[in-house]
Symmetry: C2
């Protein structure tokens, strides 16, 4: 075959990068679990009609067909598409299995998702999302909306990445405010405000008048709300000072105050109330989240989500939820691109057992087996090449120790050159060398 080439939008990491991703995933999972979130996976495919329920995303979906499928026999109703996020599949899973789940149901889900969008830096066609969600039957207490940023703050805080800021807003604040203003189409207004960072206030004002039926004064008032932000509860006073009143606005402000104050108590500096945050997807009904990675703000949010009251609803059953999702591939892509992450070795291996000749392979395997039994990642040299070449095998991969069988055996730290007698039944590496370390 001819030399293969990458496919745009479908990133693949080199071994050291994938080692870093794996360690990020381990950290994220362990934080999610310490908060009691249970692991869950859903299939990669959903019926196409389910994926298209949200008009905004229809352009992005990958549709599947079997190569040998009789295309005349299959109706579009049966078509399957690859999921474009993990929230829509999760809502479907909850409805499908509601009789077998215990509510409130807390789960994390780490999987690839696919979107047929135009690829660009930080934006992919295949990428990994790390989601947590809580859903409950009929009603969902608001304190879960305050919990999401804390979990994410711990998870991202455990990673060797620049600091993050989680921007929070509440759909009820915007919708209530727009209603109080007398705006006829609050959803259209939200969609316009969602473009603020991209197109600026002037063009958003135009959009508001053109698509949301706003007067100039209303457009100005909408933009005034979007300008408000604070790291404490003072944003609520700023909103009230705009002189608009509506019961939904009051409800949203109270919820947003709770989120910001909880975050200020447990993770000072993590959250900011930012009233321009809208989120594009239209299933959110309460708190919404976006997250900025310091130094990479221009690439957009790396962790987003919100509360959705109507996504998992069927007949009389209703499961309101709240969730948030780390865009891991985007984080890694940006940091790899900026050369901000490195790992001490590109293999898990801590010890390479050297080989004097092929006749002694069994003895070398015995040493490796003894070290592995005690959890020390070990390889045996691929060939009985000259020792210098075997040491280079270790060096190229960042393996810190080479074991020389002998009488007695000895172990060499190839970074310092130090060599000492060692017994495979008792020798252990320094704790910091057992596993690779990042940066």
């Amino acid at each position: 075959m001819s030399k293969p080439r990458p496919i745009s939008g479908f990133p693949e990491w080199l071994p050291p990068q994938r080692m870093i991703e794996q360690r990020f995933l381990d950290k994220i999972k362990s934080v999610f679990e310490v908060y009691g979130y249970a692991p869950l996976e859903t299939r990669a495919v959903e019926p196409l009609d389910q994926l298209l329920r949200k008009g905004e995303t229809s352009k992005e979906v990958y549709v599947l067909r079997r190569l040998q499928e009789d295309s005349s026999a299959s109706s579009p109703d049966d078509s399957l598409g690859l999921h474009f996020d993990l929230t829509v599949p999760f809502a479907r899973y909850v409805l499908e299995n509601s009789g077998k789940l215990n509510f409130p149901f807390r789960r994390y889900q780490i999987q690839k998702v696919w979107r047929g969008e135009r690829p660009q830096e930080g934006r992919y066609r295949e990428f990994v999302q790390c989601d947590i969600d809580v859903v409950d039957r009929d009603t969902l207490p608001a304190h879960y909306e305050a919990e999401m940023p804390l979990v994410i703050g711990d998870a991202l805080g455990a990673l060797p990445i620049p600091p993050v800021t989680i921007q929070v807003n509440n759909r009820k604040v915007c919708e209530g405010y727009y209603r109080g203003l007398g705006l006829g189409d609050p959803e259209a207004a939200l969609r316009a405000v969602d473009k603020l960072d991209k197109i600026g206030p002037g063009r958003v004002a135009t959009l508001l008048t053109e698509t949301a039926g706003a007067t100039d004064a209303q457009a100005k008032a909408v933009l005034a709300l979007a300008e408000i932000s604070s790291t404490d509860a003072s944003f609520a006073d700023s909103v009230r000072a705009l002189g608009v009143s509506d019961p939904l606005l009051d409800e949203g402000l109270a919820e947003l105050v709770q989120v910001v104050e909880t975050a200020a108590a447990y993770a000072p500096g993590l959250c900011v109330a930012d009233l321009k945050i809208a989120r594009g997807l239209d299933y959110y009904t309460g708190t919404v989240y976006e997250t900025q990675l310091a130094g990479f703000e221009r690439f957009g949010s790396i962790c987003s989500g919100g509360r959705y009251d109507n996504l998992a609803t069927s007949g009389n059953e209703r499961f309101p939820g709240v969730g948030i999702s780390i865009g891991l591939t985007r984080v890694l892509g940006l940091l790899f691109g900026a050369d901000k992450l490195a790992i001490s070795r590109e293999v898990p291996t801590c010890v390479l057992v050297a080989l004097s000749d092929e006749e002694h392979r069994r003895a070398a395997d015995d040493i490796a087996a003894a070290l592995r039994r005690r959890g020390i990642p070990t390889e045996v040299s691929p060939t009985a090449a000259k020792y210098g070449k075997q040491i280079r095998y270790a060096e190229r991969r960042g393996i810190p120790f080479v074991w020389f069988p002998g009488d007695p055996d000895s172990i060499k730290d190839i970074r310092s050159g130090d060599q000492a007698e060692a017994d495979p039944a008792t020798w252990s590496p320094p704790a910091a060398d057992l596993h690779p370390t990042i940066n």
Copy 2:
């Protein structure tokens, strides 16, 4: 929306099952890493022409198109399909990145794969494979063929599943023997023998005469080879006793003896040389592996692989490899179906902090934060319901401990009913209760 239904062939686990799968994955990964295999992932898609290089699998491929794609603009050459295994993508990855990899290159890869086959018990359209492979540039030492079963023996042996037997054979034995017999089309003969378990020796004999041009005597001789098996090196004598000679046969026998003897030394009872094992895919050129799960033999191999010398080849570059793949979804599906696996709880949570009233939520959150900081998975009660109801919340999920804030705080083991004073800064659960346990 109407209540959603499962899609045949796309299994989804319930929370306790997914907890079990997650713990299986953790064990498998940790064994792969202790042998020095580095994690790797490839994208889910490959160019269709790559996937169709092996004629046998073309019927199984899922092809992708973007919903809004202009179908007239895209040529079939650009089509993408979902990968049906992890070996073909890995070979492509090695060729694509050969200048950036260190050889021999050892990697593990745990991902979903997709095949549009007819679903049945133990056979899915979407399933997880856990692969290890070693590839080297130009030549690959045969000792890696002996290593594969040892890694798999350790990985599967670490799981609470019935014992396994790895059946090994070597394509060179079969091809050399067929050549020695004077058979014109050894590949057709292999494909016929591959069906032995499904259709029996009588119909295989017919197939051999019809598709591989065998005489009755040759067909009989082919079946005689397929009947040979042994847990030690004695199979080689049985083969020689059939009186066929060929240099490739001798080479294959020597390699197979090495695999079986290494396994007998490090994992007695794990491997058996079984000369009817052929493997359907035609890229194998040396050792081949299949694995039987005791009590579930009729569902086929749960872990298969082999050596492939020509899969990753481009121009002058050639990367022979050997690999093996655990069919994790099949293993889990069979054991779940037989009700053979259970887990002590369906959430990671070890402690539920009870709540006397909503005003004390911050105090309960403080306790949870203190426990989490020491790695103890903790949740706070969703509501300040009566304590009996809060305890049932824990019971239903299998959470072993409920924490009652007070002066002093106390912790109750809800299985035994024992209750004792506790301090969130120092209390720890028994080690066996920190994480869920299987069976």
